[in-house]
Symmetry: C2
DNA sequence: CTAAAAACCGGGAACGATTGCATAAATAAA
DNA sequence: TTTATTTATGCAATCGTTCCCGGTTTTTAG
């Protein structure tokens, strides 16, 4: 331990100056003569002086660190989004503290308290799938604390929001399956609390309607934990396949849902896409290597992260409180591979 | 912004006490009368007082945050390890700051400077595959700064180290392929700088020797960036397959290497395991869904993270400088699936 | 040659919390 | 009653940095 860093005082003492002069010299103040500046800066460099960020935080009442809350970092979408966030944050001198909710409302609140106590300057959050009550976020927001939602945005809170066009993603996916001859298309949806789920369901619904296919509510199964545990997906698919109106294709509306759906079909020896076709939202970068290769709706995760952090930093560094909030919607990308293949005659 | 937190001063003023009394009352000092304590504690609770961690850090010269440097968080092994790290760290009141080297030596140094400037109390690092020179770490270590290496440990530095038995993992994998009738087994290895690569190569070598198969150095190709870019893997496999002594099986010694190897075989229309068999180190949890399903050597990533952070915190909280360092080796797990299947007559 | 204006630098308070020391009052012992 | 001891509280320094407020030169203007 005992990792004694060199301070501005050490420099002052060594050079026979006052701390204020040293401080000003290092910050290139006009009040300091060029010669003094030169001496101070050179000496500081020589002994490898680094300003203490903690002392600065205390003085400036900001920590230059921002909090991120996601459900899981071991999820392609989020790890990509975090990469996007970091790429900008580090450039602007912010560091990020990452917390995981593991899709639990309770842990989300705990995380938030924790981050708040670490005095972060702002928050980037994609709410847990259990999150229905928003009081914990509303409280902070009311006190002017900067919050930006990404991906899983919420409705009743006026802040910056960044996500994809979920409606379009689901609409396109559904249309693709219909184009391939499927009439009975089920939806394996995420948590009903999430607006992204609602939007995806709406896109699915509309595509059916536009193609003159009757909408059947029993063709939708919601997974509260977004497919985090396999059991949940197993139950959902079990009841979808037991439907009178047995589906010939499935849309999975989240990363984990997609892979667990495929896993389920494998375990039941259902051949994709012949026995049942599928297409899913996923940001995995090896969906091309799966068996069969997966048709997916991919979200621009990296860009979402970048846009979100930019909005957040802009809000943090704003002198006046922000009143105009932006909602930015990026387009999803559909990649067609084998799993959504045309339904063959049997 | 103006997110004004309540301080100990506010309490003191409101209650007509001094800040020292309030501080002591909140820390339950014996010097404060029970009545005063009660008043202070109740009022603090009422106005939701939280001690300012930054002020504390400044005073106590510790930030209660630890740094993690890994190559990529979007890598199953590392995201699982980070989960393990967090599970312990948060319990003990530490937060973690994650930085990614993206397998670049240069960025690793930048990250280290950054983390040091954020005055972390300790460091958990899995070095980049480019890292050969260790001066940046040696400097810190000499000054008594707590560092724990995990997974990619280095040799010439006396610190705590946590990893898996790479030798055994590679030995078992090689033996499995030999058992399945393969005599020409190539190795797609990671960076030559990394000790884990050396250990894996050694395990592979020994297994060949033990089975009376001649070792051929041209059957090994090293990938400096550990498979981060596909190009690298493409070149390596290209030259392995162009060998006179053409391999009938390949061992991939890292996560990205494994998946990119499979991707290469697909692109060349090589059927696995009939045209060429493979087994790889991987912590992906959908290797069972790949086509073919992959035989893998899996590392206990979560546990590695947990053990590493425990050692680090122990060292941080030690009064006296640590002199005895531990090296903990956990066992890998071999999961046999289709890709390593017996070689069929053609 | 004097007065005003730059130019340059130091003292010390402040940020929020802890803590050794001093001090006051209250109680106990002599 | 006087002295010693305990009890309860306050003062002030400290951590590293910035910045307001002065102060002392030196330069410039009249």
């Amino acid at each position: 331990m005992k990792y004694e860093a060199v301070t501005i005082k050490d420099i002052a003492k060594a050079l026979g100056l006052s701390t204020s002069t040293v401080s000003r010299a290092l910050r290139d103040s006009y009040e300091i003569s060029p010669e003094t500046k030169k001496i101070v800066i050179e000496y500081a460099q020589q002994i490898n002086y680094r300003p203490n960020p903690i002392a600065l935080s205390l003085k400036e009442k900001r920590s230059r660190s921002i909090g991120i809350i996601v459900c899981e970092i071991a999820n392609s979408f989020f790890s990509q989004a975090i990469n996007g966030i970091e790429s900008i944050a580090y450039d602007k001198g912010y560091n990020v503290i990452i917390a995981q909710s593991h899709e639990s409302y309770e842990r989300e609140i705990l995380n938030l308290q924790y981050l708040a106590s670490r005095s972060i300057d702002g928050l980037l959050i994609s709410v847990s799938s259990e999150t229905e009550n928003l009081d914990h976020l509303i409280n902070l927001h009311k006190r002017g604390f900067p919050i930006v939602f990404f991906d899983r945005v919420v409705e009743n809170l006026d802040t910056h929001k960044v996500g994809v066009d979920n409606y379009k993603g689901a609409y396109d996916a559904t249309s693709e399956l219909i184009k391939n001859g499927h009439q009975n298309i089920a939806m394996l949806a995420g948590s009903e609390f999430l607006s992204i789920t609602k939007e995806r369901v709406a896109g699915y619904h509309q595509a059916l309607t536009d193609h003159k296919i009757a909408f059947d509510a029993s063709q939708i199964e919601y997974c509260l934990h977004g497919g985090m545990n396999y059991q949940e997906v197993e139950n959902a698919l079990g009841s979808l396949l037991a439907n009178n109106n047995k589906p010939s294709a499935v849309i999975a509306s989240a990363d984990k849902l997609t892979t667990n759906c495929l896993r389920y079909f494998k375990s039941k020896d259902l051949e994709v896409p012949n026995d049942i076709a599928m297409i899913g939202f996923s940001n995995l970068d090896l969906t091309d290597l799966l068996s069969p290769s997966l048709s997916v709706i991919r979200q621009p995760a990296y860009e979402i992260g970048q846009v979100a952090i930019e909005l957040l930093i802009k809000q943090i560094e704003n002198k006046r409180p922000t009143t105009e909030f932006e909602k930015i919607i990026l387009p999803p990308q559909m990649i067609i591979r084998e799993s959504s293949g045309a339904k063959k005659a049997r």
